[in-house]
């Protein structure tokens, strides 16, 4: 692969991730609005929100770590995008496998913790402690799911996993229990109800976002786009066979994002300890069962 080609991919992959992420966010808001029998936001609303936040005339920084934390959380996801294979582009997928990707997906939470820590707002501190607790809760089933999938396919390389699914069958069919556990885990990763403990607008005033204004909040909105994209692409690659072309790849992403949104609206919010207890009991139990089946089959 030529240097020019890889350079182009390094720019295109995060850019495409952001653009698809915008539409994923739009779909989530639109579906939520329709379920609540509202019209919902206009087509380019997520983009207007982000541009508006970046062109605010006053910006409050709470210090160097606040700025660095925001860069860290954006950087974590932007780097994660080049390790995610999409149709036609594989970036650094063969150099860094799925374990690198899991590491990179934890960087944004830590960046957020650093940045919010300097705001010295009690709501923010509570929010970030809840966010890290939630990460502890959903990462256990998520990592067991990924371990099970990698054991089944016999590789940690995402491009190889996708190629194997194309020649045999989708992961969803060959290991349905792991796929179900993974779906619950990504619901928690997206921070939707009933796992919305760290945003909780009525309780801790949006938690980590409480002191964010202007471009800082705008960066969090960009992060949300990239987060949804990263999670859905990872799930699609593991269980839905990745994409042959963009035309079947993008509908799969929207389907994966749609499932949590469809059921999230009917739920209230769990308490923090209940989230931990529930996620360590049911999805972790399912994931361990799926892992056991994979090991026994193997």
């Amino acid at each position: 692969m030529s240097g020019q080609h890889i350079f182009l991919e390094l720019i295109l992959m995060p850019l495409l991730a952001f653009m698809i992420g915008l539409f994923l966010v739009l779909m989530m808001r639109k579906v939520r609005a329709r379920i609540e029998r509202r019209v919902g936001p206009p087509f380019l609303q997520p983009l207007w929100d982000i541009i508006k936040l970046y062109v605010k005339k006053m910006q409050i920084s709470h210090g160097v770590i606040h700025d660095l934390g925001i860069i860290m959380l954006l950087g974590g996801y932007i780097t994660a995008e080049v390790f995610l294979p999409v149709p036609g582009m594989s970036g650094f997928t063969s150099q860094g496998d799925i374990i690198t990707l899991i590491y990179l997906m934890m960087v944004p939470s830590l960046g957020l913790a650093l940045g919010v820590g300097q705001c010295a707002n009690p709501n923010g501190s509570i929010g970030i402690s809840r966010a890290l607790t939630a990460m502890l809760a959903y990462d256990i089933p998520f990592i067991v799911v990924i371990a099970g999938a990698c054991l089944y396919y016999g590789t940690t390389d995402l491009t190889e996993i996708i190629a194997l699914q194309k020649s045999q069958q989708w992961g969803l069919l060959s290991m349905p229990i792991l796929a179900l556990a993974g779906l619950i885990a990504i619901h928690a990763m997206l921070g939707k109800e009933p796992f919305e403990i760290y945003v909780a607008p009525a309780e801790i005033a949006t938690g980590p976002m409480v002191e964010m204004s202007g471009k800082y909040l705008g960066s969090l909105f960009v992060m949300q786009c990239l987060q949804i994209y990263t999670i859905t692409v990872l799930y699609t690659s593991l269980f839905l066979g990745g994409g042959y072309t963009w035309f079947d790849f993008i509908p799969k992403l929207f389907l994966v994002a749609l499932l949590p949104v469809m059921i999230t609206v009917i739920f209230p919010r769990y308490k923090t300890d209940d989230v931990l207890r529930w996620l360590w009991k049911w999805p972790t139990g399912l994931a361990l069962l799926g892992l056991a089946i994979v090991v026994l089959q193997g």
């Binding site: 029998r37 936001p41 909040l217």
Partner: protein
Amino acid sequence: MKDVIPIQTNNTETIAVSKNSKNIYQQAIDTFSNFCRARSLFVLHYCTGCGAIELPPAMTSRFDMERLGIQPMVTPRQADILLITGYVSIKTLKRVILTYEQMQGPKYVIGICSCTVNGGMYWQSYATAKVLSEYLPVDMYIAGCMPRPEAVLTGLQQLMKKIEKGEANSWENYFKRYDYYLGNQQHLFGDTWHTPTDILEEARHYHLYGAESTGNNTARLIKYTVEHDLTKLDAPLREKDSMTKRGKK
């Protein structure tokens, strides 16, 4: 103490900013920025008055603010619009001012109900602030007792048009004419009134410092903060008539 500081009721028209200094690219960027600002408004509700009851139908399925790009936010840092529904008592006004000063410009204030316009049915009360625009730069009043959700949405749409034309700049007045607003605030709260936000320093930083930013009232504030050691003494920019930083209360 309240007798010492008279209320000031001079005109509150926006001080014009010269647009000649901008070249065509800056104008294009400004136009696009205003276009985006008008399409994405985050609202912070300050609902202690009765007008608050008209906002849930404006937000939910009957009228649905989100189709206009307006959504509720929960902290002043994130919000663009401060929506004040109904009367503001003197105690409430202190909180409203603290909230307003924490918001990031461009920021807009909307007064809903007659009580914010002229005191409404509370005009004889000793405990309410009568005219909101004497204490904060108000962009839009939506009169009525109470205005229906249609009126609220019409008001918001008029504000959106103003923003798109680049005319909703009254938030700059709070910096340019801080002396006037501070004087009226002191009239109600006494001359020990001070907030954690240093408006004069912010005005300097964002180039919004004008001839009317300082005056007798800001001098009173500076005197108070210096006497009570609320100033940061090591700040290099400190001058005779200015105050660089104020500590928390």
